[in-house]
Point group: C2
Chain length 426, copies 2
């Protein structure tokens, strides 16, 4: 057993790494695409199948499995029923035709790390200050259901269960219905007292790779402004209808997409923008489009830049509507301010990497993560492992097994310190 | 019976107008939308139901019903098995959430007019030179299946049955499968010898309304250039992926849509352009779009302008692809040259209107019509009745009942002359 200790820190041993590899291979097969990617939308049949496999693994390794009203799946490892939990997790859902690593890594690594710690604590005869739990948050991606981060937002109370259940996918199915269909809609939210939250994730960027680091400790997040905009035009015949009378909702959308991109060009590296989703009615070759919906994102480290971009874009929308004879409606608007992860827990993560001799640095995240939700309420840390070429939300997303294993060793040691040595960060 | 004759021309009588109104009301109920429109896509369940109703009406009124391989539905009124037919028809399919008049009017008016003439010829003891037949052409709209005009194109041999059957809708269902499902895929194309073709249609424009005319006789068509363009980008995360590495297929599409519109602005009234359909993958809010498909149309009375627009647009596509890091493929290209309708038959239509005291003028059509297909091979005429405000492919499409009735009277007289007095136009 001594081989799994480094400087008195319990880390994942060879059997743990094998267990992780086996679980990861199982996950990679459920919703696998022809190009070695993963297509496992939230609350889909594939998501249900993966949850079944994961729940069975947890029960076989001494966890108690519980599911809350919005489908968050907890694997509880309780040492003292009166103590709060250190939660560790991420998400098992994916984007369409996406990669095998995003989200999945953090959930499976968390489960294996907790099982390893429980086994080693028992061998040492040590009782930790806090219990441990792994969690799979529902619909982190926001692909099938919007908004993203539904499970973790409902857990911290910033989204109600009714709002979460009412979210509809493109076919009109609600999240509540979809969870019921796969058997993962629990009776109520669970009262899991939280001492701290840890999440491992693939970086989805190139900083670690470029700097030769194995771990990035995320210190802060970018702010994000997400809009859903609807343009209403008028359905007409694309042949005889004179151009002057057309009210083309797709032309308006196209001009808006170009304007959204221009906002990124204006601010260099400090602004990312995109339109990833567009709905179009009636979407027929011979018909002037009557309605479009656009999902627009602006992301920046600076709230001031976002506010400036918002004001300019609103004025642009007025011009586009006037020019195209359409009207527009801002159907939803979500401003996610920048936030800081927990300084003490993040420092502890850096110290743990140093103790293990793992090269690490500080990082920032542009993407949203469940750790950002949890961090609003609890001490939370978010750690990255390298992504090859930074490619993500793509079947070719890749992280080397050696990097995943290194991350798992770090996570085990960090979870141990977090549950056994709270005085180090609280 | 004498009341249904004007200057020795048999016209629809009051009972015929009632029969038309009743049939039109039945049609308006099959695929009716909440806003008094019609949603009856080609070879859909609703299309099948309407065909059943129409076929039953034809049989009850002395027609022989036959269906060819691509679902064209003929109602034959045969006086002399050795003689060719004067065909009259249009289409019963619609665009999504469209109007009740487009296409439907011509089919139902043709059926009622032929039944009326057959009855009146029998009363007069007169045998015409040609037989009569009404026809419902499959998938005129090109909404569910592309190209448009599938039924009439297959009939004249410019599209093969295999090509027609292989056309797929957005869900991957072929036209051959869909026709089989509603019971309207015949064994083979029919050998119906054609003497002439007549079609009544709503104008979908404002010329008749503006000029106070009841009938427009279409003399020529605009040319059309239809492209399906595919942009390939790369799926990535809309958050962390640096703007410089993104290859956004939706941004490319948006720039192309703006460029298509600019081509219309450049040429004033001599160019209509549009993008009515767009496909997008994976269409998820947090994912840089990997693939888009655009259905682009340029229409003009001038082939030279279309060729000029085509060359400029190809160069623009190269620039867009280079600028956005995408590639593009021209997946299909269809150039429909301008064509003339039959001069003798069109003159006869104008003379018939004059004989009936109906105000008529010459017209042109920007939209494609089955009469354009038929006119490539046979003497064909296309007549318009007024459309209120020119609105079409819209639930609010409207033509006054008095205008529909006036058109039906003209059609009856014109069909009579076409089948009994071929020397007037051939």
């Amino acid at each position: 057993m001594s081989s799994s200790y480094i400087r008195d820190l319990p880390v994942a041993d060879a059997a743990d790494l094998d267990a992780f590899d086996a679980l990861f291979a199982q996950s990679s097969a459920i919703g696998a695409t022809a190009n070695a990617g993963l297509h496992r939308l939230a609350a889909s049949v594939e998501d249900g199948a993966m949850r079944d496999v994961f729940g069975a693994w947890l029960r076989a390794h001494g966890f108690t499995v519980q599911v809350d009203a919005v489908g968050n799946l907890f694997g509880l490892m309780t040492f003292d029923p009166a103590a709060p939990y250190v939660l560790c997790g991420s998400h098992l859902d994916t984007q369409p035709k996406a990669g095998r690593f995003d989200g999945v890594y953090g959930v499976l690594a968390g489960a294996v790390a907790i099982a390893s710690i429980a086994r080693q604590l028992e061998a040492r005869g040590e009782t930790p200050a806090f219990n441990l739990a792994v969690v799979n948050w529902t619909n982190e991606e926001g692909a099938r259901f919007q908004p993203s981060l539904i499970g973790s937002s409902a857990f911290i109370g910033s989204l109600s269960v009714d709002e979460a259940w009412a979210s509809r996918d493109g076919a009109g199915v609600t999240l509540g219905e979809a969870l019921g269909q796969i058997g993962y809609r629990g009776e109520a939210m669970l009262d899991v007292p939280v001492a701290a939250y840890l999440e491992m994730h693939v970086e989805q960027g190139v900083q670690l790779e470029n700097q030769g680091l194995a771990i990035g400790v995320v210190r802060h997040t970018w702010a994000a402004l997400k809009w859903r905009i609807r343009f209403d035009g008028e359905q007409n015949h694309t042949g005889p209808a004179p151009m002057a009378v057309r009210r083309d909702a797709l032309l308006a959308a196209a001009e808006a997409i170009v304007a959204v991109r221009a906002e990124a060009e204006r601010h260099g590296l400090d602004m990312h923008t995109s339109v990833g989703r567009l709905e179009l009615e009636p979407n027929s070759p011979n018909v002037v489009p009557a309605l479009t919906r656009l999902w627009v994102e602006f992301r920046s480290p600076s709230m001031a830049l976002l506010v400036e971009a918002e004001e300019r874009f609103r004025a642009t929308l007025d011009l586009i509507a006037a020019h195209t004879g359409t009207t527009f409606t801002l159907e939803s608007e979500q401003l996610r301010p920048p936030s800081q992860l927990h300084a003490g827990l993040s420092d502890l993560a850096r110290q743990t990497c140093a103790a293990l001799g793992v090269p690490a640095g500080d990082s920032a995240t542009v993407a949203g993560h469940d750790a950002i939700s949890l961090g609003r309420r609890y001490p939370a840390a978010l750690l990255f492992v390298p992504s090859q070429g930074g490619l993500s939300h793509n079947e070719a997303e890749f992280s080397a097994t050696s990097d995943l294993h290194q991350g798992l060793r770090v996570l085990t040691a960090l979870l141990y310190r977090t549950c056994c040595q709270p005085e180090l960060y609280l």
